[in-house]
């Protein structure tokens, strides 16, 4: 298979879907000539023009709301929010409008839109540009939530999200943009769809399950590799979509290994990790558990600017490695 970056995978997904369906369009700040803050839409305005690559003023509520209104009336807008932190400015339109309209109108209309939201820390952008707030969105009935970890997944999941008839919040961890990975050859591109709601076991193992998603998948795999040489076989489950959640895969993995570590970058308190732990301990896997179900998450702090502090604020390969070791030694 050919290899491209995560950012390119996202661009390909958007471009293919835009070629396939003229109802798909992209809205956002500086997404034209500038190519978006992270260069993800670079070159798209040349192919699709200003009518479909629609640059907006700095008005996040209006952008997301306009996308919802366009979705309700027949289009399939994709919004690029420059940073997922700006969901805060569009929260009413996302939560009270896009997510609820179909339900509160008794099934009238649907809201097929995607909000792409670059998230996470690691770029020295400090507290207001480094958050991981996927858990908020998971707590809103009517929203689907995707956090892909690889170019392969990003492409297949974004294409599915664009075709989905519901509002999808698609978190793209900024540090993943340059990551390279395999994706299907061009001739199979069109059909490269990954269904929402299916986790992927990125590495099988019998001793302990790491349940995670996004960038932490890579760190978990790296830690798992090192643990392998100690004879510890870690299974790494990549959730890929948080809503809908593939509970079965999680529960099966927990049953198999009896030990579970949940890992995410988002701050621990109130994070989605709690949902994952609860899903396991309120399932038939409960009886197979041989030790406490642990979470390794971001510390409960805003992300600081200083590089060392920033790195310290979230899980690392090292801290995953150590936590697993600790769990196995008990």
């Amino acid at each position: 298979m050919r290899e491209i970056t995560y950012a390119e995978a996202i661009r390909e997904a958007m471009s293919e879907e835009m070629r396939r369906d003229t109802g798909v369009l992209l809205l956002g700040e500086d997404i034209g000539t500038y190519g978006g803050a992270f260069g993800v839409s670079r070159g798209m305005i040349e192919e699709f023009g200003e009518k479909r690559i629609r640059e907006t003023p700095i008005s996040e509520a209006a952008i997301v709301g306009a996308a919802a209104g366009a979705a309700m009336t027949g289009l399939r807008p994709i919004v690029e929010l420059m940073f997922s932190d700006f969901i805060t400015l569009a929260m009413d339109q996302l939560v009270n409008q896009a997510a609820k309209n179909r339900y509160q109108f008794g099934g009238q209309g649907s809201v097929p839109m995607v909000v792409r939201a670059p998230s996470g820390s690691g770029k020295g952008a400090a507290a207001q540009h480094s958050q991981s707030i996927e858990a908020w969105c998971c707590h809103v009935p009517g929203l689907k939530v995707v956090v892909p970890s690889t170019p392969y997944d990003a492409k297949g999941l974004l294409k599915s999200s664009i075709r989905d008839n519901n509002p999808v919040v698609f978190f793209e961890q900024k540090l993943l943009y340059p990551v390279i990975g395999e994706v299907p050859e061009k001739e199979f591109s069109e059909d490269h769809l990954i269904p929402l709601g299916k986790a992927d076991i990125k590495k099988e193992g019998a001793d302990l399950s790491i349940i995670t998603y996004g960038r932490m998948v890579h760190l978990s795999l790296a830690a798992a590799e090192r643990l392998h040489s100690l004879g510890i076989k870690v299974e790494v489950v990549d959730l890929r979509t948080l809503v809908p959640l593939d509970s079965k895969t999680i529960i099966d993995s927990a049953k198999k290994t009896g030990k579970v570590l949940v890992v995410h970058e988002a701050v621990k308190t109130g994070g989605f990790g709690g949902e994952l732990v609860s899903t396991i301990v309120d399932s038939e896997a409960f009886c197979s558990l041989t030790s406490p179900v642990k979470r390794l998450c971001g510390y409960d702090v805003p992300i600081p600017y200083n590089k060392n502090l920033e790195a310290y604020a979230v899980p690392t390969e090292e801290s995953i490695y150590k936590t697993v070791l600790g769990m196995m030694q008990r």
């Binding site: 709301g65 366009a70 309700m72 009336t73 339109q93 109108f105 009935p141 009517g142």
Partner: protein, 319 residues
């Protein structure tokens, strides 16, 4: 512009239906027959009906929480709206929305909004679809004087302006946001001047004159199709309290009284009788019919079943 008697009587009829609907709703609340709340537009009928009736099937409206007249203006089925008020399965939103979320996509109503100012961004999107697909249609976004102080007002008018979208922003200025008089929530008298911030045309009208509102909406429709968005402010008055329970200690009885004299239905009736020489019997017949329509709607609603418990889980996601 000359309006035929047919049109005039349609307007009158819809205004009377609205009034009957609302008075029935007030009664139902007083009797405790309705759970939840509703916001009444008694006194503001000319605004909703004058605008709504001037629109075409393909045009969209975004309604407010105080939007029964807006829905009726656009042609909603009264039975379905009444059933919705009663939370019935046969309601336009299957009983899930209630008065604050009246919607009927089949007549172009994309829904009422419980969030003050919440419909403004949505209207920009609906108009974007119309422009993008080359439809010869407009979107009307209703909102109140209070909503004009929300950030969404600013962002939406600006975005619609730079994209030259066919959206008509209709501010129903009924003088109050809940208990707050407009003079306490902004330092300007006339909201239409805010259009200048977006290089947009602004218009300020007597919102109790249904003929004026209707005619100006027809013109505005053509204007926005050609030139992009416009802001139309309709001055009127909320004759009842904010919602079902409101002692209205924040305003003088005399103020309400003086506006009662400007009741848009009375004014219009007089106009039809004296200027248009419509026989009173004709009006009387329409009035009786409107009353009957609402009784029928109530009968329909009351005889409709409650939604079954499992409906709770329906329509969260589209397939």
């Amino acid at each position: 512009m000359h309006l035929t008697n047919t049109v005039l009587l349609e307007l009158y009829s819809k205004m009377r239906q609205t009034r009957e609907f609302e008075e029935m709703a007030v009664k139902l609340f007083a009797q405790g027959k309705v759970h939840g709340t509703a916001h009444f537009c008694i006194g503001e009928e000319a605004a909703g009906i004058g605008v709504g009736h001037a629109l075409d099937q393909d045009d969209y409206i975004l309604q407010t929480h105080r939007g029964h007249h807006q829905a009726i203006g656009k042609g909603i089925n009264l039975n379905h709206m009444m059933a919705e008020l009663l939370g019935k399965e046969s309601g336009c939103c299957k009983g899930k929305g209630g008065s604050m979320h009246i919607a009927d996509f089949s007549v172009g109503s994309l829904g009422a909004n419980g969030i003050v100012g919440g419909g403004l961004p949505l209207s920009v999107g609906a108009a974007l679809t119309q422009q993008y697909l080359g439809k010869n249609a407009v979107t009307v976004c209703f909102f109140g004087d209070g909503a004009a102080n929300e950030g969404s007002f600013h962002e939406s008018l600006n975005l619609a302006s730079i994209w030259k979208l066919p959206v008509l922003f209709v501010c129903i200025n009924n003088q109050y946001g809940m208990s707050t008089h407009i003079s306490k929530s902004m330092n300007i008298d006339d909201i239409s001047i805010r259009a200048a911030s977006y290089n947009m045309k602004g218009l300020s009208l007597d919102g109790n004159d249904v003929v004026l509102v209707y005619k100006e909406t027809l013109k505005a429709k053509e204007y926005v199709k050609k030139h992009g968005p416009m802001l139309m402010v309709l001055h009127t008055y909320r004759l009842l309290g904010h919602s079902k329970s409101d002692a209205q200690v924040y305003r003088a009885k005399e103020e309400v009284k003086s506006w009662r004299k400007k009741d848009p239905i009375l004014l219009f009736r007089k106009y039809l009788l004296t200027e248009k020489k419509i026989p009173e019997t004709v009006l009387k017949q329409l009035e009786d019919q409107a009353a009957q329509d609402i009784l029928n709607a109530l009968a329909f609603a009351e005889s409709s079943p409650e939604p079954m418990a499992e409906k709770l889980f329906e329509d969260i996601f589209a397939d």
